[in-house]
Every structure is written in structure tokens, then in C-alpha cells.
């Protein structure tokens, strides 16, 4: 009897009560406590910067709204850990945070769960959202689903090619180097190798160990720079698992690894693979790398300090495979803040977003987390440009040709796994044919999302 009762009570708790409708229960006199969930370890270059920034935000929030309290709920671990833990919190409205700072790629899945509040009434009002007008359209639309805005960006990452000036000069390449196509990339890497410098000639991220971040900052850039830059076909609602562009990417990887131009499997397959080129470039052990904008910020911090980075290294946009329009390409992915549908304090929650998006806080997070700021005003401010010159400017310039990933689609983690396995297989065994590599991606996707959801271009 008692057992039945307890079980039923638990079932009810697990099921979550849908009667808790926020719109009928508004308590919006800017009073009360709101909770914000965020990652303590995965956004900022170092954990202490995360503490400083969130303490600053909390202080400003509680000064501006004296009757309100902000409850900071930080999570350790990677972006995947954050999303998994917070997803469990959202299962029940009583544990749901009011505001959630999440990777932009997950916004769509949160919306599909009906967890987020549309923010259109806030962003359309310039008194409530003074920053919105300074966001470029690509970033405004990033978290727009079915015509509604569900999250506001706090910073973006995009990719480019980093290179060591002296190493390229020693290989007979004049700097500043402007590669026009992938052949130029390979030629330079070959020249570095044949010049006898015992360094990694070209860092082309491969394998699955670095997860979605590793693919975003690695092979996905090459897919976007290929002749068919489509990962997900929105018209047919299918994943592209074989295309001339994907074959170009696999052939590029095959050239890099069969000619021993790439990194070692120890570095490529390390769980810390995304950070390896930062250290290898700093230690003068790498000539050219596909890399993310945050590398430049990492070199300003203490434990990966490279004081002469600006003099010794350069960044240049990733060229398209044959130099076709628009000439350069990059992935785009960042972090955004969203308000939960279950919140009892939507106005107060927006108040927090407004503080997070203030110019001052945006400069801080862009510099300490290695972001390109979404606001063009902030991106062009000296506080940002002077922090890590000349790299910050190069990546800011690359932003217009940068594209977000189709990460709101359910099959995206499987695509990440598939392309990681395919490139990883080439790095492990360069005898792998392009057909075999394509088959790995295609099999992984068919197995996970079903053969009817994949297509060949």
C-alpha cells in the first residue's frame, strides 16, 4: 500500500506537472530570486576568469534590481556534460533554471523540447534590447527557429589558418602568405616538410576524441570550404553523406596524412586535441594549423603564454577548395543565453540578459573566453581589438563568411561522430581510400538516423 503510494508519487514527480504554466503565474515586479545555469570550466580560458565574470554580473544585477537575487549555478566539465546535466534539470519545472547559457548548437533542441521562452517582444524593443541592433543578421538569426528568437548570443568562435612566419619563410614562401585554394595549403605544407624543419607541417584535426568542438574547429571548416558546402539539406530534410565536396575533404586529408604532413595520432586523438595546436604553435613545433579564434587569447594567459605571438605568427582566412566564391569559409559556433519557459520571472530574467550583454561585460567575456563579440560596436572597440592584435581583427573580418552548423538537428551528434571517424581513419591509415572514408560517414549516419534521412549530392 505504502509502496504503491510512494511509487505513484515518484511517477508523478518524474512525469513533471504541465499545470505549472508561467504565463498564469507572473510575479513580475522585479522581485525574487532567479537562477542561471552555466559552464564554469568550458567557456573561459581559465576557471578563475569565469568566477570573476559571473561575480561581476551577479553584483551588477543585484545593484540594478535591489529586490532581486541572482543564484549562480555553475557546472563543471565539457559542453556535453553541461548540456546533459541541465537537460535533466529541465525535466521538472521546479528544478529548471530561469536563465541558461548554452552552446548555440543546442538552442534548437531546447526549443523542440518546448523549454524556452520566445524573446521577440524583448529584442524588438530597442529600449529593452539596446544591443540587438548592433548584431549582424547572421548572428541575430542564429537562434531563430520558425521565425521566433529564442536565445541571444554572447560570443562566437570561428576558424582560420594560423601559420608561423619564420617557418614559412625558411621553406621559401613569402609572408604575408595568402593561400587562394587548398592546393596552396598543401604546397606550403610540402615546402615546410622538404625544407627539413622537424615540425608538424599542417595541423588538420581528425578523429572523434575532441567531440563536437573538435569537428567544429576542424574538419567541418573544410566541408564549408569545399565545392558543395552543405552538411544538412534543409529542403529535403536529409543529411548529406556523400558529395563532391566531402570527397574533396577526404582527398585533402589523405594528402596531408599520406605525405606525413599532419600531426601525430597521440596529439590528434588526445582528449585535449583542440588545445594541442595552441601549445605546439607556441613551442615552435608546428608551421601551419587550422585553428580557432580563441588560440590568440590563450596565448595571452599565463600558462600558455606566448608573448611574441603577434610578431611570430599570423592568421589568414581558410580558402575555398578551388578558390571559388566567396573565396573563404569558416564554421561559426558560440554561446547564447536563453530564458526558460518555466520561469516565474521573465522580466527579471531579461534584466539579467541585458546586463550580460552590456558592452563592458561583452568586452570582458570576449577577451577572457576567446570570443568574437556578436555586437559590431564591441567588435570594433579598442578594448577588444587591442587585446590580442592582430588576430582579433583577422577573425572579426572572417565573420561574414562564417556559417553555423546544423546542430539543432537531432542527427548532428552522429554526423560529428561519422566525420570524426572518417578523418580519424585516414589519419590512422593513410591507405584508406576516399570511398572507404565516405562509407564510414555514410554507414554511421544511416545506422543512427536511418537510410531514408541521408542523401548523396
Amino acid at each position: 500500500m505504502l509502496l504503491t503510494f510512494v511509487s505513484t508519487a515518484m511517477l508523478a514527480a518524474c512525469g513533471g506537472s504541465s499545470s505549472n504554466n508561467p504565463s498564469t503565474n507572473l510575479n513580475d515586479d522585479m522581485k525574487g530570486t532567479i537562477t542561471v545555469a552555466y559552464s564554469t570550466t568550458y567557456v573561459f580560458d581559465s576557471d578563475d576568469q569565469s568566477v570573476i565574470w559571473w561575480d561581476k554580473v551577479k553584483k551588477e544585477f543585484e545593484q540594478q534590481y535591489p529586490n532581486a537575487k541572482l543564484n549562480l549555478q555553475g557546472f563543471n566539465g565539457t559542453d556535453v556534460d553541461l548540456v546533459n546535466k541541465v537537460a535533466l534539470e529541465y525535466k521538472n519545472p521546479s528544478t529548471t533554471p530561469d536563465v541558461f547559457m548554452l552552446p548555440t548548437g543546442y538552442v534548437g533542441q531546447w526549443v523542440a523540447s518546448d523549454y524556452l521562452l520566445p524573446l521577440d517582444s524583448f529584442v524588438s524593443d530597442s529600449s529593452k534590447a539596446p544591443f540587438w541592433g548592433s548584431f549582424p543578421k547572421v548572428i541575430q538569426d542564429e537562434s531563430k527557429i520558425d521565425g521566433k528568437v529564442f536565445a541571444v548570443n554572447t560570443g562566437e568562435n570561428n576558424s582560420a589558418i594560423y601559420y608561423n612566419n619564420a617557418m614559412l619563410q625558411k621553406a621559401g614562401i613569402s609572408v604575408p602568405w595568402q593561400p587562394k585554394n587548398w592546393d596552396d595549403l598543401l604546397k606550403a605544407a610540402r615546402a615546410v616538410k622538404s625544407s627539413g624543419q622537424s615540425v608538424v607541417a599542417f595541423w588538420a584535426p581528425a578523429g572523434t576524441s575532441a567531440g563536437a568542438g573538435g569537428v567544429l574547429q576542424g574538419s567541418a571548416n573544410m566541408v564549408y570550404a569545399s565545392s558543395t558546402p552543405t552538411i544538412y539539406d534543409y529542403n529535403k530534410k536529409k543529411w548529406v553523406v556523400d558529395s563532391p565536396g566531402l570527397r574533396e575533404v577526404m582527398q585533402f586529408y589523405k594528402s596531408v596524412y599520406s605525405e606525413h604532413l599532419g600531426g601525430s595520432t597521440s596529439d590528434l586523438f588526445s582528449p585535449k586535441a583542440v588545445g594541442r595546436p595552441v601549445v605546439l604553435l607556441k613551442d615552435h613545433q608546428m608551421a601551419i594549423a587550422i585553428g580557432s579564434n580563441w588560440f590568440a587569447d590563450a596565448w595571452t594567459e599565463q600558462n600558455r603564454h606566448w608573448a611574441t605571438a603577434a610578431q611570430e605568427a599570423s592568421a589568414v582566412p581558410i580558402p575555398t577548395s578551388k578558390g571559388q566564391a566567396p573565396g573563404t569559409a569558416s564554421t561559426l559556433g558560440g554561446w547564447a543565453v536563453a530564458v526558460s519557459k518555466a520561469t516565474k520571472h521573465p522580466q527579471l530574467s531579461w534584466g539579467l540578459l541585458k546586463i550580460i550583454e552590456s558592452d563592458d561585460n561583452q568586452v570582458f567575456i570576449a577577451n577572457r573566453a576567446g570570443f568574437v563579440p556578436p555586437s559590431q560596436t564591441v567588435a570594433k572597440s579598442s578594448g577588444f581589438l587591442d587585446f590580442a592584435p592582430p588576430f582579433n581583427k583577422a577573425f572579426g573580418d572572417a565573420l561574414p563568411n562564417s556559417k553555423p552548423m546544423p546542430s539543432e538537428q537531432e542527427g548532428y551528434p552522429a554526423w560529428v561522430q561519422g566525420i570524426g571517424q572518417a578523418t580519424g581513419q585516414i589519419a590512422t591509415n593513410p591507405n584508406t581510400s576516399v570511398d572507404q572514408a565516405i562509407k564510414i560517414l555514410s554507414d554511421t549516419m544511416s545506422n543512427q538516423v536511418g537510410a531514408d534521412k541521408v542523401e548523396k549530392l
Binding site: L3, G16, K91, Q109, D114, G207, T208, T265, F269, G424
Partner: protein, 297 residues
């Protein structure tokens, strides 16, 4: 007759007193809430399309045998099942049991000081946190690591070349102490008169082990097999920290595949269904061992 009636109920038969339920109820409630209910609930979720996030995180359906059908056509699942069996049979059942037994026998016959030192070293490997063991073996097997230097192949990353062998060895290295301790205790408790009798009768060392010691140790061996199988079937930390299931899916044993489906691909329903298969494999192994232990010595 009358005297017998005054003695109350018979004591030579199983009895059940309903009043004992009251005394048992706290334990029953705890078992029900913390064990029976979650297990049954998990079984149910294994037959749904529940997702961690996305539309099916709220509105999920009972999908009948869909997950099972999908599993049968899922090449990763099939490979993963084989890898799990290779891992458990190779690393745990054969490796750990044989090496553990060998160590226990050697230490039994060694000088006390030698056995104390060797025994402690083996146990240290077992006491180390799994994550430490993973890191040690990761470094050991990299290109330029100790293993590659010993084998004079400094360019070979053994964790990529033979990943399953390396994680199995790492697991064996860590867990052999457990079997060694179990067998040492078993050997120590053998009846000395039987062993002495065999020796006096002139049995060779090999015959003594084969016909006297091993048969007497059989219950210990079966218990050891049961425990190491159950412990190793669910091994996650060591493999995940060393390879995350890679390269490709070369070390993706079932616990890692469950994690990938449930927490990377967000397919909680399918992940749960696979974990039910894992439980089933464990149950089959356990039944085999229990049957073996019942047969006559």
C-alpha cells in the same frame, strides 16, 4: 496430544507469520522505491523512444520492439557486443583468473619477505584510482612511450595500432590483484591433512594441483569468475579515459556504446535498451557459473 498442542506451531516446517510483514515493511519499502521501481521503470524506458533533449524528451512513445529490431541491424551494436565478450573473456576470465592464480601459487611458495613485497606491488595497482591507471597506460602505450621504446618501435602508437589489446592489458594489470587475493585466501584455507596425504602418497606437484588443490578450490574459482565477470562487464572509466571507444569504434564496448547513445546522441530509450542487453549478458554468464559450481567436485 494435548501436550503437543501446548507447544504451539510445529517447528520442523517452514512457517509464515503475517505479523512479520510489519517488521519487514521498512526494508520492503526501501527495496521497492530504490531498487524494484527504478529497475522496472528502466525496463519500460528501454521500449520507448525517449530522448534527453528535443521533442521526444517530453512527448515520447512506447515503441514496442522497435529498439530490439534496430539493435539487430545496428552494426555498431553487434561489433560492440563482440568487443565486450572479448574484453570480459580475454581480460577478466582468462587473463585475470590465470594470472591471479599463478601469482597466488608463486607467492604461496615464495619467501615471506618476497611475497610481501610482490604482493604489495600488485595490490598498489588495484588501489590506484582507475583514472590514474588509465593515464599511466595511456602514456605507456603512446608513440615514444615506454612500451614503444621497449619494443624498439618508437613511431608506433600502440593505443591506435592494437587498441583492444592495450585496454585489456591495462584492465588486467589493474584488476589481477583482486583474483590474486581471492585465490591466496582460498589456498591458505585448504585442509593441510589432505595435501600432506597426497604428498606422502608420492603424488607429483602437477598431480597434486590437478587432482587435489584445484578441485578443492573450485568454489573459490567459481566465485572469482562470477565477481570478475560482473565487475568487468560494466567497465567504463578505464576504457573511456584511455580511448573514448576509439579509434573509430575499435574499443567501443557495450557500456561505452550505451553512454554514446544516451548522452552523446541523446537517445535515452535506445541506450536503455542496450543496457538491458548488457544485464542479460551478465545474467547468462552468472547462470553458467552458478550451474558449474553446483556440479560435483
Amino acid at each position: 496430544m494435548a501436550v503437543a498442542a501446548g507447544l504451539g506451531p510445529r517447528l520442523d516446517r517452514e512457517r509464515f507469520q503475517w505479523s512479520s510483514l510489519v517488521m519487514l515493511s521498512p526494508a520492503l519499502v526501501l527495496l521497492g522505491v530504490l531498487f524494484v521501481f527504478p529497475v522496472l521503470y528502466a525496463c519500460y524506458l528501454g521500449f520507448t523512444n525517449l530522448a534527453l533533449v528535443g521533442s521526444r524528451s517530453r512527448a515520447y512513445d512506447f515503441t514496442g520492439l522497435d529498439n530490439i529490431t534496430r539493435m539487430l541491424g545496428d552494426y555498431v551494436f553487434i561489433k560492440s557486443s563482440w568487443l565486450t565478450i572479448i574484453f570480459v573473456v580475454g581480460s577478466a576470465i582468462i587473463g585475470q583468473t590465470v594470472l591471479g592464480m599463478a601469482l597466488a601459487i608463486l607467492l604461496r611458495n615464495a619467501l615471506v619477505s618476497v611475497s610481501a613485497v610482490i604482493g604489495s606491488i600488485v595490490i598498489v595497482a588495484w588501489v590506484l584510482p582507475e583514472i590514474t591507471v588509465a593515464l599511466v597506460w595511456y602514456a605507456f602505450s603512446q608513440a615514444g612511450g615506454t612500451l614503444s621504446i621497449l619494443l624498439r618501435q618508437t613511431d608506433t602508437n600502440f593505443l591506435v595500432a592494437v587498441p583492444m589489446l592495450i585496454v585489456s592489458l591495462a584492465n588486467l594489470w589493474r584488476n589481477v590483484a583482486f583474483s590474486m587475493l581471492v585465490f591466496s585466501a582460498g589456498l591458505r584455507n585448504l585442509p593441510t591433512e589432505v595435501l600432506e596425504a597426497a604428498e606422502v602418497e608420492g603424488a607429483s606437484v602437477w598431480r597434486r594441483y590437478r587432482l587435489v588443490i584445484f578441485p578443492l578450490l573450485k568454489p573459490t574459482i567459481v566465485t572469482n569468475l562470477l565477481l570478475v565477470t560482473i565487475l568487468n562487464l560494466s567497465e567504463f572509466t578505464l576504457i573511456y579515459a584511455m580511448t573514448q571507444g576509439g579509434p573509430g569504434i575499435e574499443t567501443m564496448t557495450l557500456p561505452l556504446y550505451v553512454y554514446q547513445e544516451a548522452f552523446v546522441f541523446h537517445q535515452l530509450g535506445y541506450g536503455t535498451a542496450i543496457s538491458l542487453v548488457l544485464v542479460l549478458i551478465g545474467a547468462v554468464f552468472s547462470l553458467l557459473f552458478v550451474r558449474a559450481s553446483r556440479s560435483q567436485v
